[in-house]
Protein backbone atom coordinates (compact mmCIF):
# COMPACT_ATOMS: atom_id res chain seq x y z
CA UNK A 1 0.00 0.00 0.00
CA UNK A 2 1.46 3.34 -1.04
CA UNK A 3 2.04 6.09 1.48
CA UNK A 4 -0.57 8.25 -0.21
CA UNK A 5 -3.25 5.57 -0.03
CA UNK A 6 -5.71 6.07 2.83
CA UNK A 7 -8.33 3.46 1.94
CA UNK A 8 -7.95 0.24 0.03
CA UNK A 9 -10.82 -2.21 -0.43
CA UNK A 10 -10.31 -5.63 -2.02
CA UNK A 11 -13.00 -8.16 -2.97
CA UNK A 12 -15.38 -6.74 -0.39
CA UNK A 13 -18.74 -8.48 -0.14
CA UNK A 14 -21.82 -7.73 1.89
CA UNK A 15 -25.20 -9.40 1.89
CA UNK A 16 -28.16 -9.47 4.25
CA UNK A 17 -30.64 -12.23 5.16
CA UNK A 18 -30.87 -15.88 4.21
CA UNK A 19 -32.99 -17.96 1.84
CA UNK A 20 -35.94 -15.98 0.50
CA UNK A 21 -34.84 -12.83 2.26
CA UNK A 22 -31.25 -12.97 0.93
CA UNK A 23 -30.08 -9.64 -0.53
CA UNK A 24 -26.65 -9.23 -2.08
CA UNK A 25 -25.72 -5.58 -1.56
CA UNK A 26 -22.02 -5.23 -2.42
CA UNK A 27 -20.28 -7.77 -4.59
CA UNK A 28 -16.50 -7.93 -4.98
CA UNK A 29 -15.85 -4.24 -4.45
CA UNK A 30 -12.31 -3.11 -5.30
CA UNK A 31 -11.17 0.48 -5.05
CA UNK A 32 -8.81 2.76 -3.22
CA UNK A 33 -8.81 6.40 -2.13
CA UNK A 34 -5.70 8.50 -1.64
CA UNK A 35 -5.04 11.16 0.94
CA UNK A 36 -5.94 14.59 -0.36
CA UNK A 37 -8.70 13.16 -2.56
CA UNK A 38 -12.40 13.97 -2.42
CA UNK A 39 -14.29 11.01 -3.84
CA UNK A 40 -18.04 11.01 -4.40
CA UNK A 41 -20.01 7.81 -3.92
CA UNK A 42 -23.25 7.75 -5.82
CA UNK A 43 -25.95 5.15 -6.36
CA UNK A 44 -29.72 4.92 -6.37
CA UNK A 45 -31.46 4.75 -2.99
CA UNK A 46 -31.08 1.39 -1.27
CA UNK A 47 -28.12 0.38 -3.43
CA UNK A 48 -25.79 0.13 -0.44
CA UNK A 49 -23.94 3.48 -0.30
CA UNK A 50 -24.31 3.89 3.46
CA UNK A 51 -23.62 0.17 3.98
CA UNK A 52 -20.34 0.51 2.08
CA UNK A 53 -19.47 3.66 4.03
CA UNK A 54 -20.23 1.93 7.32
CA UNK A 55 -18.06 -1.04 6.37
CA UNK A 56 -15.13 1.25 5.59
CA UNK A 57 -15.91 3.05 8.84
CA UNK A 58 -15.61 -0.25 10.78
CA UNK A 59 -19.23 0.01 11.91
CA UNK A 60 -20.86 -2.75 9.84
CA UNK A 61 -18.98 -6.00 9.31
CA UNK A 62 -18.55 -7.19 5.71
CA UNK A 63 -19.05 -10.86 4.80
CA UNK A 64 -15.64 -11.20 3.22
CA UNK A 65 -12.82 -9.25 1.61
CA UNK A 66 -10.06 -6.96 2.83
CA UNK A 67 -10.05 -3.36 4.09
CA UNK A 68 -6.92 -1.28 4.59
CA UNK A 69 -7.11 2.02 6.45
CA UNK A 70 -3.80 3.79 6.05
CA UNK A 71 -1.04 1.29 6.77
CA UNK A 72 -3.27 -0.93 8.84
CA UNK A 73 -5.16 -3.90 7.50
CA UNK A 74 -8.29 -3.78 9.64
CA UNK A 75 -10.40 -6.47 7.97
CA UNK A 76 -9.57 -9.73 6.23
CA UNK A 77 -12.65 -11.92 6.28
CA UNK A 78 -12.96 -10.85 9.93
CA UNK A 79 -12.10 -7.80 11.99
CA UNK A 80 -8.41 -7.99 12.76
CA UNK A 81 -8.89 -6.00 15.95
CA UNK A 82 -11.51 -6.23 18.68
CA UNK A 83 -11.50 -2.48 19.09
CA UNK A 84 -13.05 -1.28 15.84
CA UNK A 85 -14.42 1.68 17.78
CA UNK A 86 -10.85 2.72 18.64
CA UNK A 87 -10.04 2.74 14.90
CA UNK A 88 -13.05 5.00 14.31
CA UNK A 89 -12.05 7.21 17.18
CA UNK A 90 -8.46 7.62 16.04
CA UNK A 91 -8.51 7.41 12.23
CA UNK A 92 -11.95 8.37 10.94
CA UNK A 93 -14.10 11.47 11.00
CA UNK A 94 -17.82 11.12 10.32
CA UNK A 95 -20.16 13.69 8.82
CA UNK A 96 -23.85 12.95 8.45
CA UNK A 97 -26.88 14.27 6.60
CA UNK A 98 -27.98 16.10 9.73
CA UNK A 99 -25.41 17.58 12.06
CA UNK A 100 -26.19 15.11 14.89
CA UNK A 101 -24.46 17.23 17.49
CA UNK A 102 -25.10 16.25 21.11
CA UNK A 103 -27.92 18.67 22.04
CA UNK A 104 -26.99 18.92 25.71
CA UNK A 105 -23.36 19.86 25.05
CA UNK A 106 -22.25 23.29 23.94
CA UNK A 107 -20.23 23.63 20.73
CA UNK A 108 -16.78 23.42 22.32
CA UNK A 109 -17.80 20.36 24.36
CA UNK A 110 -19.25 18.72 21.23
CA UNK A 111 -15.85 19.16 19.61
CA UNK A 112 -13.70 18.08 22.54
CA UNK A 113 -15.73 15.00 23.49
CA UNK A 114 -13.90 12.75 21.04
CA UNK A 115 -10.38 13.95 21.98
CA UNK A 116 -11.35 13.42 25.62
CA UNK A 117 -12.22 9.80 24.77
CA UNK A 118 -8.84 9.57 23.03
CA UNK A 119 -7.24 10.82 26.28
CA UNK A 120 -5.82 13.90 24.56
CA UNK A 121 -4.77 16.72 26.85
CA UNK A 122 -7.68 19.09 27.53
CA UNK A 123 -5.65 22.22 26.71
CA UNK A 124 -4.50 20.75 23.44
CA UNK A 125 -8.01 19.66 22.40
CA UNK A 126 -9.48 23.05 23.35
CA UNK A 127 -6.88 24.85 21.29
CA UNK A 128 -7.56 22.52 18.32
CA UNK A 129 -11.31 23.10 18.68
CA UNK A 130 -10.87 26.88 18.76
CA UNK A 131 -8.59 26.68 15.76
CA UNK A 132 -11.20 24.71 13.81
CA UNK A 133 -14.04 26.99 14.83
CA UNK A 134 -11.97 29.90 13.57
CA UNK A 135 -11.23 27.99 10.36
CA UNK A 136 -14.98 27.50 9.83
CA UNK A 137 -15.72 31.12 10.75
CA UNK A 138 -17.79 30.31 13.85
CA UNK A 139 -15.23 31.17 16.53
CA UNK A 140 -17.78 33.23 18.47
CA UNK A 141 -20.12 30.25 18.91
CA UNK A 142 -17.98 28.08 21.16
CA UNK A 143 -20.21 28.30 24.23
CA UNK A 144 -23.47 28.32 22.28
CA UNK A 145 -25.76 25.29 22.32
CA UNK A 146 -26.51 23.54 18.99
CA UNK A 147 -30.12 24.70 19.27
CA UNK A 148 -28.90 28.31 19.13
CA UNK A 149 -27.09 27.86 15.80
CA UNK A 150 -28.46 27.82 12.23
CA UNK A 151 -28.49 24.60 10.19
CA UNK A 152 -25.46 25.71 8.17
CA UNK A 153 -23.52 26.69 11.29
CA UNK A 154 -24.32 23.36 12.92
CA UNK A 155 -23.18 21.49 9.84
CA UNK A 156 -19.89 23.40 9.98
CA UNK A 157 -19.53 22.39 13.64
CA UNK A 158 -20.23 18.77 12.61
CA UNK A 159 -17.43 18.99 10.03
CA UNK A 160 -15.15 20.52 12.64
CA UNK A 161 -16.03 17.63 14.98
CA UNK A 162 -15.04 15.16 12.25
CA UNK A 163 -11.63 16.86 12.07
CA UNK A 164 -10.98 17.02 15.80
CA UNK A 165 -9.09 13.72 15.93
CA UNK A 166 -6.85 14.65 12.96
CA UNK A 167 -8.33 11.79 10.94
CA UNK A 168 -6.75 10.14 7.91
CA UNK A 169 -10.21 9.54 6.48
CA UNK A 170 -13.48 11.46 6.47
CA UNK A 171 -16.66 9.56 5.66
CA UNK A 172 -19.46 11.94 4.80
CA UNK A 173 -22.95 10.48 4.39
CA UNK A 174 -25.00 12.92 2.31
CA UNK A 175 -23.62 16.01 4.09
CA UNK A 176 -25.45 18.37 1.76
CA UNK A 177 -28.83 16.67 1.72
CA UNK A 178 -30.38 19.10 4.19
CA UNK A 179 -28.80 22.22 2.69
CA UNK A 180 -29.78 24.56 -0.15
CA UNK A 181 -27.68 24.48 -3.33
CA UNK A 182 -25.48 27.44 -2.39
CA UNK A 183 -24.68 26.02 1.04
CA UNK A 184 -24.20 22.58 -0.50
CA UNK A 185 -21.54 23.91 -2.83
CA UNK A 186 -19.88 25.70 0.12
CA UNK A 187 -19.78 22.48 2.16
CA UNK A 188 -18.36 20.37 -0.68
CA UNK A 189 -15.77 23.06 -1.47
CA UNK A 190 -14.92 23.05 2.22
CA UNK A 191 -14.49 19.26 2.16
CA UNK A 192 -12.22 19.55 -0.87
CA UNK A 193 -10.20 22.23 0.89
CA UNK A 194 -9.93 20.04 3.98
CA UNK A 195 -8.89 17.03 1.87
CA UNK A 196 -6.05 19.04 0.34
CA UNK A 197 -4.98 21.15 3.30
CA UNK A 198 -5.26 18.46 5.97
CA UNK A 199 -4.15 15.62 3.66
CA UNK A 200 -7.26 13.60 4.34
CA UNK A 201 -9.11 11.11 2.15
CA UNK A 202 -12.76 12.09 1.91
CA UNK A 203 -15.53 9.80 0.67
CA UNK A 204 -18.80 11.66 0.27
CA UNK A 205 -22.09 9.91 -0.39
CA UNK A 206 -24.33 12.19 -2.41
CA UNK A 207 -27.48 12.19 -4.53
CA UNK A 208 -26.72 15.63 -5.87
CA UNK A 209 -25.06 15.33 -9.27
CA UNK A 210 -24.33 19.05 -9.20
CA UNK A 211 -21.69 18.33 -6.58
CA UNK A 212 -19.82 15.80 -8.68
CA UNK A 213 -17.75 18.31 -10.71
CA UNK A 214 -16.29 19.49 -7.41
CA UNK A 215 -14.98 16.00 -6.61
CA UNK A 216 -11.76 14.39 -7.82
CA UNK A 217 -13.33 11.05 -8.61
CA UNK A 218 -16.67 9.33 -8.49
CA UNK A 219 -17.48 5.82 -7.29
CA UNK A 220 -20.78 4.38 -8.49
CA UNK A 221 -22.51 1.31 -7.14
CA UNK A 222 -23.92 -0.36 -10.24
CA UNK A 223 -25.51 -3.75 -10.04
CA UNK A 224 -23.86 -4.41 -6.66
CA UNK A 225 -20.42 -3.61 -8.05
CA UNK A 226 -18.38 -0.50 -7.27
CA UNK A 227 -17.31 1.18 -10.50
CA UNK A 228 -14.72 3.99 -10.57
CA UNK A 229 -15.23 7.01 -12.81
CA UNK A 230 -12.51 9.60 -13.05
CA UNK A 231 -14.84 12.53 -13.80
CA UNK A 232 -18.38 13.68 -14.47
CA UNK A 233 -18.11 13.25 -18.25
CA UNK A 234 -17.65 9.50 -17.85
CA UNK A 235 -20.89 9.30 -15.87
CA UNK A 236 -22.79 11.19 -18.51
Amino acid sequence: MSKKQAIKVENLNKSFGKGDTFVDVIHNANFSVDKGELVALIAPSGAGKTTLLMMIGCVNEPNSGTIWLGDEKVYENRWLTKETRKIRREKIGFIFQAHYLIPFLNIIDNLTLLPQANKIDEKESHSRAKELLKYFDIADKEIAMPSQLSGGQNQRVAIARALMNNPEIILADEPTAALDSKRSVDVVKMLKKIAVEQDVAVIMVTHDEAMLPLCDRVLIIEDKKVVQKSNIKEIE
Binding site: T50, M54, F94, F96, I102, L114, A117, E122
Partner: protein
Protein backbone atom coordinates in the same frame (compact mmCIF):
# COMPACT_ATOMS: atom_id res chain seq x y z
CA UNK B 1 -13.29 17.55 31.41
CA UNK B 2 -16.83 17.07 30.10
CA UNK B 3 -19.31 15.51 32.54
CA UNK B 4 -21.97 14.12 30.24
CA UNK B 5 -24.40 13.40 33.09
CA UNK B 6 -24.05 16.92 34.50
CA UNK B 7 -24.52 18.54 31.10
CA UNK B 8 -27.53 16.36 30.25
CA UNK B 9 -29.17 17.13 33.60
CA UNK B 10 -28.48 20.86 33.12
CA UNK B 11 -30.15 20.61 29.72
CA UNK B 12 -33.40 19.22 31.20
CA UNK B 13 -33.06 20.56 34.74
CA UNK B 14 -36.72 21.36 35.43
CA UNK B 15 -37.94 17.96 34.28
CA UNK B 16 -35.18 16.24 36.23
CA UNK B 17 -35.98 18.08 39.46
CA UNK B 18 -39.72 17.44 39.18
CA UNK B 19 -38.99 13.73 38.56
CA UNK B 20 -36.67 13.64 41.57
CA UNK B 21 -39.35 15.33 43.68
CA UNK B 22 -41.87 12.67 42.64
CA UNK B 23 -39.55 9.82 43.55
CA UNK B 24 -38.55 11.80 46.65
CA UNK B 25 -42.14 11.83 47.89
CA UNK B 26 -42.16 8.05 47.62
CA UNK B 27 -38.91 7.85 49.57
CA UNK B 28 -40.37 10.33 52.07
CA UNK B 29 -43.24 7.91 52.66
CA UNK B 30 -40.66 5.15 53.23
CA UNK B 31 -39.03 7.31 55.91
CA UNK B 32 -42.44 8.05 57.45
CA UNK B 33 -43.26 4.32 57.55
CA UNK B 34 -40.00 3.59 59.34
CA UNK B 35 -40.72 6.60 61.55
CA UNK B 36 -44.12 5.17 62.50
CA UNK B 37 -42.37 1.96 63.62
CA UNK B 38 -39.77 3.94 65.56
CA UNK B 39 -42.64 5.94 67.05
CA UNK B 40 -44.34 2.77 68.22
CA UNK B 41 -41.15 1.60 69.92
CA UNK B 42 -40.66 5.05 71.46
CA UNK B 43 -44.31 5.13 72.61
CA UNK B 44 -43.99 1.64 74.06
CA UNK B 45 -41.05 2.82 76.12
CA UNK B 46 -42.78 5.92 77.52
CA UNK B 47 -44.46 4.01 80.36
CA UNK B 48 -41.32 1.99 81.08
CA UNK B 49 -39.14 5.11 81.09
CA UNK B 50 -41.52 7.15 83.24
CA UNK B 51 -42.06 4.40 85.79
CA UNK B 52 -38.32 3.67 85.76
CA UNK B 53 -38.59 0.51 87.83
CA UNK B 54 -36.39 -2.61 87.96
CA UNK B 55 -38.99 -5.35 88.32
CA UNK B 56 -42.50 -6.10 87.09
CA UNK B 57 -44.39 -8.73 89.08
CA UNK B 58 -47.44 -10.02 87.19
CA UNK B 59 -49.92 -12.90 87.21
CA UNK B 60 -48.20 -16.29 86.94
CA UNK B 61 -47.62 -17.55 83.37
CA UNK B 62 -48.63 -14.27 81.78
CA UNK B 63 -46.49 -11.78 79.94
CA UNK B 64 -47.80 -8.84 81.92
CA UNK B 65 -50.31 -6.04 81.39
CA UNK B 66 -49.03 -4.86 78.01
CA UNK B 67 -49.34 -8.22 76.30
CA UNK B 68 -52.20 -10.02 78.11
CA UNK B 69 -54.56 -9.78 81.10
CA UNK B 70 -52.79 -9.94 84.43
CA UNK B 71 -54.31 -9.73 87.89
CA UNK B 72 -52.44 -9.80 91.15
CA UNK B 73 -53.44 -8.79 94.66
CA UNK B 74 -52.65 -5.25 95.67
CA UNK B 75 -51.16 -6.34 99.00
CA UNK B 76 -48.46 -8.27 97.14
CA UNK B 77 -46.56 -5.00 97.26
CA UNK B 78 -46.26 -5.34 101.03
CA UNK B 79 -44.89 -8.85 100.69
CA UNK B 80 -42.35 -7.54 98.20
CA UNK B 81 -41.35 -4.69 100.48
CA UNK B 82 -40.41 -7.34 103.03
CA UNK B 83 -37.57 -8.54 100.82
CA UNK B 84 -34.20 -7.06 101.60
CA UNK B 85 -33.41 -6.68 97.91
CA UNK B 86 -36.50 -4.57 97.28
CA UNK B 87 -36.24 -0.82 97.78
CA UNK B 88 -39.71 0.36 96.69
CA UNK B 89 -42.81 -1.51 95.50
CA UNK B 90 -46.15 -0.18 94.29
CA UNK B 91 -49.36 -1.52 92.74
CA UNK B 92 -50.31 -0.28 89.30
CA UNK B 93 -53.37 -0.78 87.11
CA UNK B 94 -53.58 -0.46 83.34
CA UNK B 95 -56.90 -0.20 81.55
CA UNK B 96 -57.98 0.77 78.05
CA UNK B 97 -60.86 3.25 78.10
CA UNK B 98 -62.93 5.22 75.65
CA UNK B 99 -63.61 8.79 76.76
CA UNK B 100 -65.83 11.32 75.11
CA UNK B 101 -64.61 14.83 74.25
CA UNK B 102 -67.57 16.58 72.70
CA UNK B 103 -68.63 14.20 69.94
CA UNK B 104 -65.19 12.65 69.65
CA UNK B 105 -64.50 9.19 71.10
CA UNK B 106 -60.91 9.02 72.31
CA UNK B 107 -59.04 5.82 73.12
CA UNK B 108 -56.84 6.19 76.16
CA UNK B 109 -54.89 3.94 78.49
CA UNK B 110 -55.62 4.68 82.14
CA UNK B 111 -52.84 4.13 84.65
CA UNK B 112 -53.91 3.84 88.27
CA UNK B 113 -51.33 4.42 91.01
CA UNK B 114 -51.18 5.05 94.72
CA UNK B 115 -50.89 8.84 94.96
CA UNK B 116 -49.26 8.47 98.39
CA UNK B 117 -46.95 5.69 97.22
CA UNK B 118 -43.22 5.66 96.55
CA UNK B 119 -43.44 5.24 92.77
CA UNK B 120 -45.15 7.87 90.65
CA UNK B 121 -45.71 7.08 86.94
CA UNK B 122 -46.13 10.75 86.05
CA UNK B 123 -42.83 12.11 84.80
CA UNK B 124 -42.71 15.75 86.06
CA UNK B 125 -40.87 16.72 82.86
CA UNK B 126 -43.89 15.72 80.83
CA UNK B 127 -46.36 17.69 82.97
CA UNK B 128 -47.01 20.83 80.93
CA UNK B 129 -49.95 22.27 82.89
CA UNK B 130 -51.60 21.84 86.29
CA UNK B 131 -50.34 19.38 88.87
CA UNK B 132 -50.11 15.68 89.72
CA UNK B 133 -53.00 13.91 91.54
CA UNK B 134 -53.40 15.04 95.15
CA UNK B 135 -56.81 13.66 96.07
CA UNK B 136 -57.70 10.02 96.14
CA UNK B 137 -60.87 10.52 94.15
CA UNK B 138 -62.28 12.11 91.01
CA UNK B 139 -59.11 13.75 89.75
CA UNK B 140 -57.46 12.94 86.45
CA UNK B 141 -54.21 13.90 84.73
CA UNK B 142 -54.55 13.57 81.01
CA UNK B 143 -52.39 13.69 77.84
CA UNK B 144 -52.62 16.85 75.70
CA UNK B 145 -53.39 14.68 72.61
CA UNK B 146 -56.92 14.21 73.95
CA UNK B 147 -57.70 17.92 73.64
CA UNK B 148 -58.92 18.31 77.22
CA UNK B 149 -58.04 21.43 79.19
CA UNK B 150 -57.48 22.00 82.91
CA UNK B 151 -60.77 22.00 84.79
CA UNK B 152 -62.67 20.01 82.16
CA UNK B 153 -65.03 17.36 83.52
CA UNK B 154 -64.84 13.82 82.22
CA UNK B 155 -67.48 11.17 82.76
CA UNK B 156 -65.86 7.80 83.50
CA UNK B 157 -67.84 4.79 84.73
CA UNK B 158 -70.22 6.00 87.37
CA UNK B 159 -68.24 9.10 88.33
CA UNK B 160 -67.19 12.49 87.02
CA UNK B 161 -63.51 13.42 87.08
CA UNK B 162 -61.85 16.83 86.93
CA UNK B 163 -58.77 17.41 84.81
CA UNK B 164 -56.05 18.68 87.19
CA UNK B 165 -52.98 18.15 85.03
CA UNK B 166 -51.98 17.97 81.35
CA UNK B 167 -49.05 15.92 80.13
CA UNK B 168 -47.25 15.95 76.81
CA UNK B 169 -45.77 12.97 74.96
CA UNK B 170 -47.40 10.42 77.23
CA UNK B 171 -48.69 7.62 75.03
CA UNK B 172 -49.06 3.84 75.11
CA UNK B 173 -47.50 1.48 72.53
CA UNK B 174 -50.61 1.70 70.37
CA UNK B 175 -50.36 5.49 70.28
CA UNK B 176 -53.29 6.04 72.68
CA UNK B 177 -52.88 8.89 75.14
CA UNK B 178 -52.18 8.02 78.76
CA UNK B 179 -54.42 9.23 81.58
CA UNK B 180 -53.56 8.96 85.25
CA UNK B 181 -56.01 8.12 88.03
CA UNK B 182 -55.66 7.34 91.69
CA UNK B 183 -55.35 3.60 92.35
CA UNK B 184 -58.69 3.53 94.14
CA UNK B 185 -60.54 5.20 91.29
CA UNK B 186 -58.79 2.99 88.73
CA UNK B 187 -59.70 -0.14 90.69
CA UNK B 188 -63.30 0.98 90.88
CA UNK B 189 -63.37 1.60 87.16
CA UNK B 190 -61.79 -1.73 86.35
CA UNK B 191 -63.11 -4.10 88.94
CA UNK B 192 -66.41 -2.65 90.20
CA UNK B 193 -69.46 -3.60 88.27
CA UNK B 194 -72.62 -1.60 87.66
CA UNK B 195 -75.43 -1.65 90.23
CA UNK B 196 -77.51 -3.92 88.03
CA UNK B 197 -74.60 -6.39 87.65
CA UNK B 198 -73.98 -6.35 91.40
CA UNK B 199 -77.70 -7.10 92.00
CA UNK B 200 -77.64 -9.95 89.48
CA UNK B 201 -74.41 -11.37 90.93
CA UNK B 202 -75.88 -11.22 94.46
CA UNK B 203 -78.95 -13.10 93.26
CA UNK B 204 -76.61 -15.75 91.84
CA UNK B 205 -74.71 -15.89 95.12
CA UNK B 206 -71.57 -14.24 93.67
CA UNK B 207 -69.84 -11.70 95.85
CA UNK B 208 -67.59 -9.14 94.18
CA UNK B 209 -64.23 -9.56 95.92
CA UNK B 210 -62.05 -8.13 93.17
CA UNK B 211 -61.74 -4.60 94.45
CA UNK B 212 -58.21 -5.07 95.75
CA UNK B 213 -56.81 -6.47 92.56
CA UNK B 214 -54.29 -4.65 90.42
CA UNK B 215 -52.58 -5.54 87.13
CA UNK B 216 -48.99 -5.47 88.23
CA UNK B 217 -46.68 -4.66 91.10
CA UNK B 218 -43.65 -2.68 90.12
CA UNK B 219 -40.55 -2.49 92.25
CA UNK B 220 -37.11 -0.98 92.42
CA UNK B 221 -34.27 -2.84 94.08
CA UNK B 222 -31.54 -1.76 96.41
CA UNK B 223 -28.45 -0.78 94.43
CA UNK B 224 -26.32 -3.47 96.05
CA UNK B 225 -28.52 -6.27 94.67
CA UNK B 226 -28.43 -7.79 91.22
CA UNK B 227 -31.65 -7.33 89.24
CA UNK B 228 -31.55 -10.67 87.41
CA UNK B 229 -30.73 -12.65 90.55
CA UNK B 230 -33.48 -10.89 92.52
CA UNK B 231 -36.03 -11.59 89.75
CA UNK B 232 -34.98 -15.25 89.76
CA UNK B 233 -35.42 -15.47 93.56
CA UNK B 234 -38.84 -13.79 93.45
CA UNK B 235 -40.04 -16.21 90.76
CA UNK B 236 -39.24 -19.06 93.16
CA UNK B 237 -41.10 -17.72 96.18
CA UNK B 238 -43.96 -15.62 94.85
CA UNK B 239 -45.39 -18.01 92.27
CA UNK B 240 -45.73 -15.08 89.97
CA UNK B 241 -44.13 -14.11 86.72
CA UNK B 242 -41.39 -11.56 87.31
CA UNK B 243 -39.83 -9.51 84.55
CA UNK B 244 -36.84 -7.22 84.63
CA UNK B 245 -36.97 -3.89 82.81
CA UNK B 246 -35.02 -5.43 79.92
CA UNK B 247 -37.45 -8.34 79.68
CA UNK B 248 -40.48 -6.04 79.82
CA UNK B 249 -39.00 -3.94 76.99
CA UNK B 250 -38.52 -7.17 75.03
CA UNK B 251 -42.15 -8.18 75.69
CA UNK B 252 -43.35 -4.81 74.45
CA UNK B 253 -41.28 -4.86 71.27
CA UNK B 254 -41.50 -8.59 70.57
CA UNK B 255 -45.13 -9.31 71.35
CA UNK B 256 -46.90 -5.98 71.18
CA UNK B 257 -45.15 -4.12 68.38
CA UNK B 258 -43.83 -7.10 66.39
CA UNK B 259 -46.83 -7.64 64.11
CA UNK B 260 -47.15 -3.97 63.36
CA UNK B 261 -43.42 -3.76 62.68
CA UNK B 262 -43.62 -6.70 60.26
CA UNK B 263 -46.49 -5.03 58.46
CA UNK B 264 -44.64 -1.73 58.29
CA UNK B 265 -41.47 -3.55 57.24
CA UNK B 266 -43.31 -5.24 54.38
CA UNK B 267 -44.83 -1.94 53.28
CA UNK B 268 -41.39 -0.36 53.41
CA UNK B 269 -39.84 -3.13 51.28
CA UNK B 270 -42.67 -2.83 48.73
CA UNK B 271 -42.22 0.96 48.59
CA UNK B 272 -38.45 0.62 48.08
CA UNK B 273 -39.05 -1.94 45.29
CA UNK B 274 -41.65 0.36 43.70
CA UNK B 275 -39.24 3.32 43.95
CA UNK B 276 -36.50 1.19 42.29
CA UNK B 277 -38.87 0.17 39.48
CA UNK B 278 -39.95 3.79 38.99
CA UNK B 279 -36.33 4.99 38.89
CA UNK B 280 -35.54 2.17 36.40
CA UNK B 281 -38.42 3.22 34.14
CA UNK B 282 -37.48 6.90 34.36
CA UNK B 283 -33.86 6.13 33.46
CA UNK B 284 -35.01 3.81 30.66
CA UNK B 285 -37.23 6.57 29.25
CA UNK B 286 -34.45 9.13 29.61
CA UNK B 287 -32.08 6.73 27.79
CA UNK B 288 -34.63 6.18 25.02
CA UNK B 289 -34.98 9.95 24.62
CA UNK B 290 -31.22 10.14 24.06
CA UNK B 291 -30.84 6.99 21.98
CA UNK B 292 -30.07 8.92 18.78
CA UNK B 293 -27.29 10.86 20.52
CA UNK B 294 -26.05 7.63 22.12
CA UNK B 295 -25.96 5.94 18.70
CA UNK B 296 -24.03 8.86 17.23
CA UNK B 297 -21.59 8.80 20.13
CA UNK B 298 -21.03 5.08 19.55
CA UNK B 299 -20.67 5.66 15.82
CA UNK B 300 -18.01 8.35 16.11
CA UNK B 301 -16.08 6.13 18.49
CA UNK B 302 -16.99 7.22 22.02
CA UNK B 303 -16.37 4.15 24.22
CA UNK B 304 -19.36 2.44 25.84
CA UNK B 305 -17.89 3.05 29.28
CA UNK B 306 -18.18 6.85 28.79
CA UNK B 307 -21.86 6.54 27.87
CA UNK B 308 -22.58 3.96 30.59
CA UNK B 309 -20.90 6.26 33.13
CA UNK B 310 -23.32 9.01 32.08
CA UNK B 311 -26.36 6.74 32.60
CA UNK B 312 -25.18 5.41 35.98
CA UNK B 313 -24.24 8.90 37.20
CA UNK B 314 -27.61 10.30 36.16
CA UNK B 315 -29.38 7.45 37.98
CA UNK B 316 -27.31 8.03 41.10
CA UNK B 317 -27.91 11.79 41.00
CA UNK B 318 -31.63 11.16 40.53
CA UNK B 319 -31.65 8.72 43.46
CA UNK B 320 -29.65 11.01 45.74
CA UNK B 321 -31.69 14.08 44.81
CA UNK B 322 -34.89 12.07 45.41
CA UNK B 323 -33.45 11.01 48.77
CA UNK B 324 -32.84 14.68 49.71
CA UNK B 325 -36.37 15.63 48.63
CA UNK B 326 -37.71 12.59 50.50
CA UNK B 327 -36.00 13.75 53.69
CA UNK B 328 -37.34 17.29 53.33
CA UNK B 329 -40.83 15.95 52.54
CA UNK B 330 -40.87 13.57 55.50
CA UNK B 331 -39.70 16.33 57.89
CA UNK B 332 -42.43 18.61 56.59
CA UNK B 333 -45.27 16.17 57.14
CA UNK B 334 -44.25 13.83 59.95
CA UNK B 335 -46.00 15.78 62.70
CA UNK B 336 -49.27 15.78 60.76
CA UNK B 337 -49.73 12.05 61.45
CA UNK B 338 -52.02 11.01 64.30
CA UNK B 339 -49.45 8.52 65.57
CA UNK B 340 -46.04 9.39 66.86
CA UNK B 341 -43.50 9.42 63.97
CA UNK B 342 -39.86 9.39 64.99
CA UNK B 343 -37.39 10.23 62.21
CA UNK B 344 -33.88 9.05 63.00
CA UNK B 345 -30.77 10.04 61.10
CA UNK B 346 -29.59 6.41 61.28
CA UNK B 347 -32.70 5.36 59.33
CA UNK B 348 -32.06 8.13 56.81
CA UNK B 349 -28.49 6.91 56.38
CA UNK B 350 -29.71 3.33 55.89
CA UNK B 351 -32.21 4.54 53.28
CA UNK B 352 -29.40 6.47 51.59
CA UNK B 353 -27.36 3.26 51.25
CA UNK B 354 -30.46 1.44 49.92
CA UNK B 355 -31.17 4.26 47.44
CA UNK B 356 -27.59 4.16 46.15
CA UNK B 357 -27.74 0.36 45.69
CA UNK B 358 -31.26 0.55 44.18
CA UNK B 359 -30.12 3.33 41.80
CA UNK B 360 -27.22 1.21 40.58
CA UNK B 361 -29.66 -1.66 39.95
CA UNK B 362 -32.11 0.75 38.32
CA UNK B 363 -29.43 1.97 35.91
CA UNK B 364 -28.90 -1.57 34.54
CA UNK B 365 -31.92 -1.35 32.25
CA UNK B 366 -30.62 1.91 30.74
CA UNK B 367 -27.10 0.50 30.49
CA UNK B 368 -28.45 -2.57 28.67
CA UNK B 369 -30.15 -0.25 26.19
CA UNK B 370 -26.86 1.63 25.64
CA UNK B 371 -24.94 -1.60 25.00
CA UNK B 372 -27.54 -2.88 22.55
CA UNK B 373 -27.99 0.47 20.72
CA UNK B 374 -27.11 0.15 17.01
CA UNK B 375 -24.66 2.91 16.04
CA UNK B 376 -26.14 3.13 12.54
CA UNK B 377 -29.74 3.44 13.72
CA UNK B 378 -29.48 7.22 14.10
CA UNK B 379 -28.41 7.74 10.49
CA UNK B 380 -30.81 5.14 9.10
CA UNK B 381 -28.08 3.13 7.38
Amino acid sequence: MIHLAKEDIKHTLGKFIVTAMGVGMLLGIVLIMVGVYRGMIADANVILDDLNVDLWVVQENTLGPFAEASRVHEDLKNTLKGYQAIDKAEAITFQNLQILNGNRQISVMAIGYDIYGDINPINPKRLIAGRVLRNEHYEIVIGDKTGFKLGNKIHLGRDIYTVVGITHGTVASGGDALVYLSLKDAQTLQFTYTNKRVQTDKARGIVNRDAHLVNTIVATINPTYNVDKTAKELRKWLHKSVYTRKQQTYVLTKYVVEKASKQIGLFTIILVVVATIIISLIIYTMTLEKIKEISIMKLIGIPNITIIKMIVEETLILGILAFVFGNIFSHLIYNKFPKNVVLLSSDSFMLFIIVVIASIFASFIGVKKVISADPTSAIGG
